[in-house]
Amino acid sequence: MNLITTNELCKTYSKKLVIDHVNMHIPEGSIYGFVGENGSGKTTIMRLLTGLAEPTSGTYELFGLKNNDPRIFEKRKNISAIVERISLIPNLTAKQNIRYYELYTGRTLTEEEKDELLKKVNLQDVGNKKVRNFSLGMRQRLGIALALVSNPKLMFLDEPMNGLDPEGIAELRDLLIELNQKDGITVLISSHILSELEKIATCYGFISHGKIIEEITAQELKDRCRKSLMVKVDDVEKAEKAIKELGAKDYKVSPTGEIRIYDNFKIKDVMAGLDAAGVNILAINSSEESVEEYYLNLIKEGK
């Protein structure tokens, strides 16, 4: 079951279409990695789904309810989000900020629960320090702690790893996995650190220029980012013919003169085959495509 489904969602700002007929599907219980270049529309989509902005056209469903259904306000109580920036009250302490959240979300935590929550985000030692004196990383952690106050079923996290040190990133990663696996919280997370996203996401949505270019599960992505042999040659046509003669079935030719062979060949066999066909090899190496490369290729193809 999808917790979020969008249907031809569009948003224009000053007559410019920034979200272009987006159809997204976020399965319940998933960690949805939202990937896209700066200004691709990730944050705008999060703003639309959290109710901060209204779609220009198109609709979305949240917990099975359409965005114009008045009952959606009740469902939104199951959501928490950090979109664009962390909303904290600078002249209050961490615990006072939690208290403030408690008051309007209607959930009351005991002192022990508050301590536990702060411990979860490694802020157990902040005491009575005002939030205005927190570092960016500490604010980020407190933002995440606040997002957990309401006991959400769905979390929107927009670049939550920004400002965190490597240790903080690892802790956040573990926390998100724990929240997802233990508490069943569905997470929509955008991040530029694709290597980190790769470690937690169970499915991905790739977005570019306001359009979703692909939605894919982590397993499918893993299959696509598999081991390959990359050959750069002087004559691509001849090389392609030679590779076919070697028995290659799964390969990709790029316009830059690169051929990526996914079939399991040894380097020396490929070199011999190309040499026999009179093709000059400029470069050859065995590689495994990362999510980042996959994404960059996807964007290139999209363009």
Binding site: T50, L52, E74, K77, S80, V83, S87, L103, Y104
Partner: protein
């Protein structure tokens, strides 16, 4: 809604700005009382009155354009703008509150804070006024806003004045919340609020003076016309009659010109009276009984003031709520 209000008040209770404003309010109240006390030392004997009394401070301190009054809408606007700049509005929307509920909570919270500040200031002024000058509703004292006049402040006047003042503040706070949610930035917000509140008040005052000035010129011209006509009726010399006729035509021309000026000024003044939420407060009338003047507020001013303020409050509230609903939150 109650959760939104609770969270807002929790935030304000932890905010040092509100406590400082309250302390400043009390300080200004004490200063103003002492100021009138000193003025009274020099003037009371000459003017045969008591400048400083509890009741004079009570009605004088309600003014939105004098001493502490103008700080109240600014303070409220600051609190509302902070909701936007700190991002707490965003969190409330994400948490599933409708924009209408959020706007309504901002207005109610703003109103409550404004009344807390206002009543603290008024109570301090009244208390210190009563300590220094007593609270005797039979003495001639300063009545209404400072500079308005002197007379005996009646209990009925105080009740009407306080009720009307509270309604005036409803309009002013509804306007401040409207401007704060419109600007979402303290920079343009404060000048806009101040210029509007002071601008309308002083324009109303200015046009009120203009109406009475033009009215006096008209009266003088009418009297002159009557005198000229009487004089001409008694005249038999044709040359003198011709001269009178010339003078009468001149005066009639002046009256016609003044009349059109009066009509224009009067229309503007009437419109401003309707738009000015403080009109009822700024225009204290007096009736003379024996050797004393008594403050009065006629029912038209009182009920008209309440009606006008209710209409403005509703207009700003619903206008603001609609605007807030339509605009995206950044």
């Amino acid at each position: 809604m109650s959760r939104l209000l609770k969270s807002f008040f929790y935030k304000v209770s932890k905010d040092i700005t509100f406590r400082i404003t309250l302390i400043v309010g009390v300080g200004v109240a004490v200063f103003m009382t002492l100021l009138y006390f000193v003025i009274g030392l020099f003037m009371d004997e000459q003017m045969e009155m008591t400048t400083l009394t509890g009741q004079s401070m009570l009605v004088g301190s309600f003014s939105p354009v004098q001493s502490f009054g103008f700080a109240i809408p600014i303070n409220i606007a600051v609190f509302i703008v902070l909701e936007f700049t700190q991002g707490t509005i965003r969190n409330k929307i994400i948490a599933g509150y409708s924009k209408f509920k959020i706007y309504a909570s901002l207005f109610i919270s703003g109103l409550a804070l404004a009344f807390a500040l206002l009543l603290t200031y008024v109570a301090t002024c009244t208390l210190f006024g009563a300590i220094f000058g007593g609270f005797d509703l039979s003495v001639t004292t300063m009545a209404g806003m400072s500079g308005i006049g002197t007379g005996v402040i009646t209990a009925e006047y105080i009740i009407k004045y306080v009720i009307l003042a509270l309604f005036s503040y409803c309009t002013i706070i509804a306007f401040s919340v409207f401007i704060a949610t419109l600007c979402r930035n303290i920079g343009p917000c404060i000048p806009l609020i101040l210029i509007t509140i002071f601008g309308i008040y002083y324009l109303t005052m200015l046009f009120g003076v203009a109406v009475s000035t033009v009215n006096s010129i008209m009266d003088a011209s009418q009297n002159a016309l009557v005198e000229l006509k009487e004089a001409m009726a008694q005249e038999t010399n044709p040359n003198a009659i011709a001269a009178y006729e010339e003078q009468i035509a001149e005066v009639e021309k002046t009256i016609a010109g003044t009349q059109s000026t009066y009509d224009t000024v009067n229309i503007i003044a009437s419109i401003l009276k309707c738009v000015d939420p403080q009109y009822g407060l700024a225009n204290t009338d007096f009736i003379r009984e024996g050797d004393k003047s008594f403050t009065v507020m006629d029912n038209l001013t009182f009920f008209g003031g309440i009606g006008g303020n209710l209409a403005f409050t509703a207009a700003f509230f619903f206008g603001g709520a609609c605007l807030f609903k339509k605009r995206d939150i950044k």
